[in-house]
Amino acid sequence: MAEKTYLQAISDGLRQEMRRDKRVFVIGEDVGVYGGAFKVTLGFQEEFGPWRVLDAPLAETAIVGGATGAAIMGMRPVAEMQFADFISCAWDQLITVAAKQRYRAGTPVPIVIRLPSGGRFSGGPFHSQNPESSFAHIPGLKIVCPATPEDAKGLIVSAIEDPNPVLFFEHKHLYRRIKGEVPDDRYSTPIGKARLHREGEDVSLITWGAMVYTATEAAKQLEEQDASVEIVDLRSIMPWDREAVLESVRKTSKVLVLHEDNRTGGFGAEIAATIAEEAFEHLDAPVKRLAAPDTPVPFSPPLEKAFIPQVENVVSALRELVEY
């Protein structure tokens, strides 16, 4: 057990899998000599060689399509999109081929696509998105969004083991800011199981990824005002842990769903609808959603701050629920 950053945890998990399983290889733009734009694969090419850590041409379709073909031939590719935003260039490969191949042709496609996502660094519209909800609508994909270093390592291991295409959204804001104890040994964290991040009695807050920390700050502020907030970190949104959410809602009777992706058609809507269908009689207030507005991610700091849900926004949303 040692303290690791979120980024080190991903890197450690990936390296461990590559050491124990020759089928695992890394492909992406600048992942080799340069070690990846964020240095997740730093030193990998020296250890595993140029044919297991492949610098690809700047071609996301070739990367995801190539990973798909290699996976069908028995490999376990881990492809990196330099930024999650660039997955749009490989949409067809992912949605048309990888996601549907098992259902229609019986062929499993065990690939992992690593997607550095999220804003707060003035990355603008093309380097800051959290597009996970769009992919949650596609049957056949799994979608993982870890918030802690421990989960980041355990979930990258599960993602590689999984026989399906797994989108691994790693939040860039957490890469070097978030540290935590990470077991040295190999372990896997199940995909589809939520984590109770914080126990509380008065309001449930359902979220994932970097918003877990925004939620935590807000919960601390409410605690000072004698309201306790329970935070459920979903960890994956496809599949998602409906039972953990419903259990928390039945306990607190009030719920806020929070995410960094855009509001309309965001995955929060699915969660809110499920709560309305399954736990309506337990609710003491309308289900509340807080998400980024329906705009592209803006560049300039005050605009970006207005776009990404902030602690004060979460505090007022929670307070409204407490006072309802």
């Binding site: 399509g65 798909t68 073909g69 067809d92 019986g106 499993p108």
Partner: protein, 348 residues
């Protein structure tokens, strides 16, 4: 100005033997071409009888190319044939009754009714099921070749596409990556001159699509797609070159799509003279004549092949019609793979 090499036609039996085919192989190629056309002709009738839901596509005119290429593949090689390449499925050994079951959306089709027409493949035979977004299969085949290269296996992947698909980015990305890494992949362009109703002069501006190969750092070859032996020879050469570490080849097989894009399309936009000209080069008739002139195919042999193919197709349709429609409850099955699913021939 053409850059690609234009392949010579194949002449004598001795030349064919040099390319690795004995007389038995030649008769098998002829049989496979007849089965290929027969399946599509009989499928067309089933469609008109209302027994095939959706639409219906054939590869009439492409039998020589698809059978010729598949005959050149090694048993451990893999490929991504498309909807004009029924001959690949037949040559690799897919049982015709399962194809009819697939057409009719039955439970015994390779996709168990989950997908239709030629969107199917038998993984045990080294084939990967196509998608409608045709050039999407090129990067996938390149990925198969990448796996072979990483594991240092002497296997080759074949990627099929049409001249229509050549316009899309996947084709470029796949070929570029394959060229950069010298991967063991052979690209087969079925150039049937029409992308639905769009003629080649509205699809690309180079003389031959195979000319593009040079820009990706490998060889391009144009071959008469109605000459199954020339196609075979070029495919064999390219496959063995890839197997030996010589990198990719692009083979462009020139044919004419002898029917509409699909059964609903009467191809009114194709000049009648063009159909007449290419009808004279019918790939099956052409090969039949060659076999009689060069390989002494006798009347008895020809009758035996024709009769046995007819019997095979009759039995296949009868068996497919006995296959049940899928149980509606299976609609939810198989969206996600389980770890046991990885116990496939490819994941060994």
């Amino acid at each position: 100005m053409a850059i690609a090499r234009e392949a010579e036609p194949v002449g004598s039996l001795s030349e064919v033997k040099e390319a690795g085919l004995d007389r038995e192989d030649l008769l098998q190629i002829y049989r496979n071409m007849l089965i290929t056309r027969g399946i599509e002709e009989r499928g067309h009738i089933l469609y008109k009888q209302g027994k095939i839901p959706g639409s219906f596509y054939t590869g009439r005119g492409n039998e020589a190319a698809s059978v010729g290429i598949a005959t050149a593949m090694g048993s451990d090689d893999v490929g991504t044939p498309l909807h004009r390449d029924m001959g690949v499925h037949i040559t690799r050994g897919v049982e015709p009754w399962r194809i009819f079951a697939q057409y009719m959306g039955r439970a015994d089709g390779p996709t168990k009714g989950k997908d239709g027409n030629v969107h199917m493949a038998d993984a045990k035979l080294g084939l990967i099921a196509m998608v409608s977004h045709l050039p999407a299969m090129l990067p996938v085949a390149v990925g198969c070749a990448l796996a072979f290269r990483i594991r240092e296996e002497k296997r080759v992947a074949l990627a099929w596409f049409g001249e229509g698909a050549s316009a899309r980015g996947d084709t470029h990305e796949g070929m570029n990556f394959a060229g950069v890494r010298r991967l063991p992949v052979v690209f087969i362009c079925d150039n049937n001159q029409w992308a639905y109703s769009t003629p080649t002069h509205l699809e690309y501006a180079c003389e031959h699509l195979a000319d593009r190969a040079q820009a990706y750092g490998f060889e391009g070859v144009v071959v008469d797609g109605t000459d199954t032996l020339a196609v075979y020879r070029e495919a064999k050469r390219a496959i063995e070159k890839a197997r030996a570490g010589g990198g990719p080849t692009l083979i462009e097989c020139m044919t004419l799509r002898m029917e509409g894009h699909a059964v609903h399309d009467d191809a009114f936009y194709v000049p009648k003279e063009l159909f007449e000209e290419w009808a004279k080069r019918d790939p099956i008739e052409r090969f039949r004549t060659w076999l009689r002139d060069n390989a002494t195919m006798t009347d008895e042999e020809e009758d035996e092949i024709t009769t046995s193919v007819k019997r095979l197709l009759n039995e296949a349709i009868a068996r497919a019609e006995e296959s049940p429609l899928p149980d509606p409850s299976t609609v939810l099955d198989g969206v996600y793979a389980t770890p046991e699913d990885l116990d496939t021939p490819h994941h060994k």
